[in-house]
C-alpha cells in the first residue's frame, strides 16, 4: 500500500516536472516577423499584387489603403523583396512589405499567405501616415485597428508624410532602419523648437477623444533621406487632414506652449550681420480673461538665453546698449512670427492647436462648458494679445 502511494507520488512529481518546464503557446522569436514601422498610403497596388490578381489570386476588397510594414531585421536570403534596405548581397537591416486592401487587419492577415513568418506588432515604433490618405479618411478610422490591437503598444509614435509613407520608410543607407531613425529624430525635440513634442498613440487617442483639433509632425523625404519639417493640422470632428504649419510656424508655436524648450532665434543687425540667440529658459503664461460672454487671451512670454553667434565685423565689445537693442530685435522677431501664426490659426484654418483651450478649461470651467461644443469657431474670433521679452544673460564662452 505504502509503496503504491510512493509510486503515485513519484509519478506525479515526474509528470508535473515535465509540464512545468514547458511553455504552452511559446513561439520562437526567430520564427516571427517583428514589424517596427507601419506606413499608411492611398491604395496603389504593387507589381506583385497586380500580377497575382491577374492570375486570379484576389479576394473581394477595395483598394483604398496600402499598408507598408517595415520588418527588422530583413530577409537574409538572396530572395529580394521589392523595397529592401540594400539591393546588394548579405543580410538586410530591414525590409518593407506592401499590401493593398480596405481593412488594416485583413491586410495584416493577408501577409500570412505570403510570408512564412507571421507578423507581430509588439515592437511597432512608428506609424507614418501620408497626407493624401489623411485627407480621405479620418485618423480615427485609419488608426482604429492599431488602437484596438492588443500587441501594439500605445507608446508608438505617429508622423505625417508629405509624399508616400513608403518613401519615408525607405532609406538609401542599408545599415539604417528608417523606423528607428525617425524615433531618434523625435527625441531631439528638446534641442529644437521646430520639432513638435512626440505624439504617441496614447496621446493621440486622448486628443481625438477630447474633440479638439490637433497637430502632428510632418516628415519630408528626398533622395532616400528624411527630414522633419512643419506640422499637419487635423480637424476636430472628422480627424482629417486640414492644413499645414511651416517650420517657422512651429517656432512661433513654441512661444505659446509652456512645455516646449530649446530653440534659437536668428535676426540681422542693422549692418546686416547675422546674430543668433539660443533660448535657455522660457517662461510662458497664457492668461485667459472672461468678461460676460467675451473671451480674450493675453500671452506673456519671457525668455533667458545666450548670444551664441554674432557675425559683426569688425568685432566690437558687446555693451549694454547693443545688447538691449539685440534683445528688442529678437523679441520683435518672435512677435512677428506669433502674429503670422495666429493669423493662420484664426483666419486661414480656424483651429486652436496651440492649447489655448487648456488655459480656459482650467481657469474658467463654467465658461468652457458653454463654448466647448464649437470652440474652434469661437477661437477664430477671440482677440489675443501677446508680449515677448527676451533677455541675453550670457555671451557664451567668448565675449567678443
Amino acid at each position: 500500500m505504502i509503496s503504491f502511494r510512493m509510486c503515485l507520488r513519484v509519478t506525479c512529481a515526474v509528470f508535473i516536472l515535465c509540464i512545468i518546464s514547458g511553455c504552452w503557446s511559446s513561439r520562437e522569436i526567430e520564427d516571427l516577423s517583428l514589424y517596427v514601422g507601419l506606413g499608411i498610403d492611398v491604395g496603389k497596388e504593387t507589381d506583385f499584387e497586380k500580377k497575382i490578381s491577374a492570375q486570379g489570386g484576389h479576394y473581394p476588397k477595395q483598394n483604398n489603403v496600402t499598408a507598408t510594414v517595415q520588418i527588422a531585421p530583413g530577409n537574409s536570403s538572396s530572395q529580394k523583396s521589392q523595397q529592401s534596405g540594400s539591393p546588394s548581397s548579405g543580410k538586410e537591416s530591414y525590409s518593407n512589405e506592401q499590401l493593398t486592401g480596405d481593412s488594416m487587419l485583413q491586410i495584416f492577415r493577408q501577409f500570412a499567405l505570403r510570408r512564412d513568418r507571421p507578423l507581430i506588432g509588439h515592437h511597432l515604433k512608428v506609424i507614418v501616415i501620408s497626407k493624401d490618405i489623411a485627407k480621405k479618411y479620418g485618423l480615427i478610422q485609419l488608426l482604429d485597428f492599431v488602437l484596438r490591437d492588443n500587441d501594439i503598444r500605445p507608446n508608438c509614435l505617429v508622423l505625417i508624410s508629405h509624399q508616400r509613407a513608403v518613401d519615408v520608410l525607405t532609406s538609401d543607407d542599408p545599415s539604417r532602419i528608417p523606423a528607428f531613425y525617425l524615433t531618434g529624430i523625435t527625441n531631439n525635440a528638446y534641442i529644437s523648437n521646430k520639432i513638435l513634442e512626440p505624439v504617441s498613440l496614447a496621446k493621440l487617442d486622448a486628443q481625438m477623444q477630447s474633440g479638439s483639433s490637433f497637430l502632428l509632425q510632418n516628415v519630408l523625404n528626398a533622395n532616400g533621406e528624411d527630414k522633419f519639417s512643419g506640422g499637419s493640422i487635423f480637424a476636430a470632428n472628422t480627424t482629417k487632414f486640414l492644413g499645414e504649419l511651416s517650420q517657422t510656424d512651429l517656432e512661433a508655436l513654441s512661444w505659446l506652449m509652456p512645455k516646449k524648450q530649446g530653440g534659437v532665434i536668428k535676426t540681422y543687425s542693422k549692418e546686416g550681420f547675422t546674430v543668433l540667440y539660443e533660448i535657455k529658459k522660457k517662461k510662458i503664461k497664457i492668461i485667459p480673461k472672461v468678461n460676460g460672454d467675451d473671451i480674450s487671451f493675453h500671452v506673456k512670454a519671457e525668455s533667458e538665453g545666450w548670444l551664441m553667434e554674432d557675425w559683426r565685423a569688425p568685432e566690437e565689445e558687446e555693451k549694454g546698449a547693443y545688447l538691449k537693442e539685440m534683445e528688442n530685435d529678437f523679441a520683435e522677431l518672435v512677435e512677428q512670427q506669433i502674429k503670422q501664426l495666429l493669423y493662420k490659426l484664426q483666419h486661414t484654418y480656424k483651429v486652436d492647436v496651440a492649447g489655448f483651450r487648456d488655459s480656459i478649461r482650467i481657469k474658467y470651467p463654467k465658461t468652457w462648458k458653454k463654448v466647448k461644443g464649437n470652440w474652434d469657431e469661437i477661437f477664430a474670433t477671440i482677440p489675443i494679445t501677446y508680449e515677448v521679452k527676451t533677455s541675453i544673460t550670457n555671451p557664451g564662452s567668448s565675449t567678443e
Binding site: W24, S25, L147, P154, Q209, S210, D358, P365, K366
Partner: protein, 366 residues
C-alpha cells in the same frame, strides 16, 4: 485541520484585508470612476469613498466584536433566528463564490489578451485554481503566511511601476479642481465605493483574531493602505493619459504602463511584469473568497470536514467563472457584485447591529 485554533494578530488582519481588497478591480477602476465623474476630480471621489467605507467597516467590526470567536455565519442565527440566518448565510456564501469566480475570469481575460494569447482559458484557470486549493486546504495559517509574502512584493513593485510613468504625467490633466462643483464628485462615489469591496472579510476573520478589540484598528489600517494604492493609481492614470484618453480604453491601468518605455532600467517594458505581479494579487483575492465561502458552508451547516467543502466548491466556481460569454458580461457581473455587496455588507451589518442591541443579543462590547 485545527483551523479554529489559528490565531492571527492585528498586522496579519490588515494584510488579509488589503490582499482581499486589491484585486482585479484596479485594472478598470480609472475608467469606471472617471466616466461617472466626468471631470478630473476622480481622485476626490476615491478619497471620499475611502472615508465612507472606513465608517461602514467600523460598524461591521463593532457587530463582529459582540460575538467573540464566532463568524458571521454563526452569530446571525442568534440575532435573527434560524431561518433568516440560513437565507442570509446562503446569500453571503454565494457572494463569496461569485467574487472568486469573477476574479478568476478577469485574470483569465487579461492574461489571454496580453500575456498568453494562444493558451486556452481552461488551462490558465486550472493551474490557478489548483494552486489556490493547495494553499487554502492548509488553513488560515498557511493563507496568512503566503499573503504576508505576496503583499509587500506586489505593493512595492506595483506602486513603483505606476510612478515610473511620471514622464507622461501632466498636472493640467488633473486641473481644474472642483471646476464644476461638488456634484460630479458625488456621482463618482458609487463606482469608487464598489472598488472598496473586500472589507467584509472581517466578518469571518474577526473570529480568529488574537485580540478582537484591535479589529477596528486593523480595519482602519487596511482601508488606509488600499485607499493610498487606489489614489496613486487614479492620479497617475488620469494625470498621464488624461480623462478623454481613458474613456475608450478597456484596461486603463495596463495601458498606462504600456504607454512608456524606459531604456536602460533592466526592463524596457513593464506591462508583463505588472501583470505577473498583479496576478498574485488577484490570486490572493480568489483564494480568500474561496476560503470564506468554504468556512461559511462549514459554519452554517455545521459540517465537520472543510477540506471536502473546498473541493466540492471548485467545479461551481469554475462554471460560474465561465458563465459570462463576453467581456461586457464580465464587467456587468462585476457591477452586480458591487451592488450586492453594498446591500449585504454596508446596510445589513448596521441593521443586524441595531437588532442585536435592541434584543440584547451577544456579549457586551468586547
Amino acid at each position: 485541520m485545527n483551523d479554529s485554533r489559528v490565531k492571527i494578530n492585528t498586522t496579519q488582519a490588515v494584510v488579509i484585508i488589503v490582499n482581499y481588497m486589491l484585486g482585479a478591480g484596479i485594472l478598470t477602476l480609472p475608467r469606471t470612476t472617471s466616466s461617472a465623474v466626468g471631470t478630473p476630480d476622480v481622485w476626490i471621489s476615491i478619497l471620499l469613498s475611502g472615508l465612507i467605507v472606513t465608517g461602514i467597516g467600523l460598524i461591521l467590526v463593532t457587530l463582529c466584536r459582540r460575538f467573540p470567536e464566532k463568524t458571521v455565519f454563526q452569530f446571525t442565527r442568534e440575532i435573527t433566528g434560524r431561518w433568516i440566518a440560513y437565507i442570509l448565510g446562503c446569500v453571503t456564501i454565494l457572494y463569496f463564490m461569485i467574487i472568486s469566480a469573477f476574479e478568476i475570469r478577469v485574470m483569465a481575460d487579461v492574461t489571454g489578451m496580453y500575456l498568453l494569447e494562444r493558451t486556452p482559458t481552461w488551462a490558465i484557470v486550472m493551474v490557478f485554481m489548483w494552486i489556490g486549493i493547495y494553499m487554502i486546504s492548509g488553513g488560515l495559517g498557511v493563507i496568512i503566511r503566503v499573503f504576508e509574502i505576496i503583499l509587500p512584493i506586489t505593493l512595492i513593485i506595483f506602486v513603483m511601476e505606476i510612478l515610473l510613468s511620471n514622464q507622461l504625467f501632466e498636472i493640467s490633466n488633473l486641473r481644474p479642481v472642483l471646476g464644476e462643483g461638488i456634484m460630479p464628485v458625488l456621482k463618482g462615489l458609487k463606482p469608487s465605493l464598489l472598488s472598496y469591496t473586500g472589507y467584509e472579510v472581517m466578518l469571518v476573520i474577526t473570529a480568529y483574531m488574537q485580540d478582537p478589540k484591535k479589529s477596528n484598528k486593523a480595519m482602519t489600517w487596511g482601508l488606509t493602505i488600499s485607499t493610498m494604492v487606489y489614489l496613486i493609481t487614479v492620479v497617475m492614470v488620469v494625470g498621464s493619459l488624461s480623462l478623454d484618453g481613458i474613456k475608450t480604453r478597456t484596461w486603463p491601468t495596463l495601458d498606462l504602463v504600456r504607454s512608456f518605455e524606459i531604456q536602460g532600467l533592466i526592463f524596457e517594458r513593464f506591462e508583463s511584469l505588472l501583470l505577473v505581479i498583479w496576478i498574485m494579487q488577484i490570486f490572493s483575492t480568489f483564494a480568500i473568497t474561496h476560503y470564506c465561502a468554504s468556512v461559511g458552508i462549514r459554519d452554517l451547516f455545521r459540517a465537520k470536514k472543510i477540506r471536502w467543502i473546498m473541493y466540492a466548491l471548485l467545479p461551481f466556481i469554475y462554471l460560474t467563472a465561465m458563465m459570462p460569454k463576453t467581456v461586457f458580461e464580465t464587467f456587468a457581473l462585476g457591477d452586480m457584485l458591487g451592488n450586492v455587496s453594498v446591500v449585504l455588507f454596508a446596510i445589513l451589518p448596521l441593521v443586524l447591529l441595531l437588532i442585536s442591541i435592541i434584543r440584547k443579543k451577544g456579549g457586551k462590547r468586547a
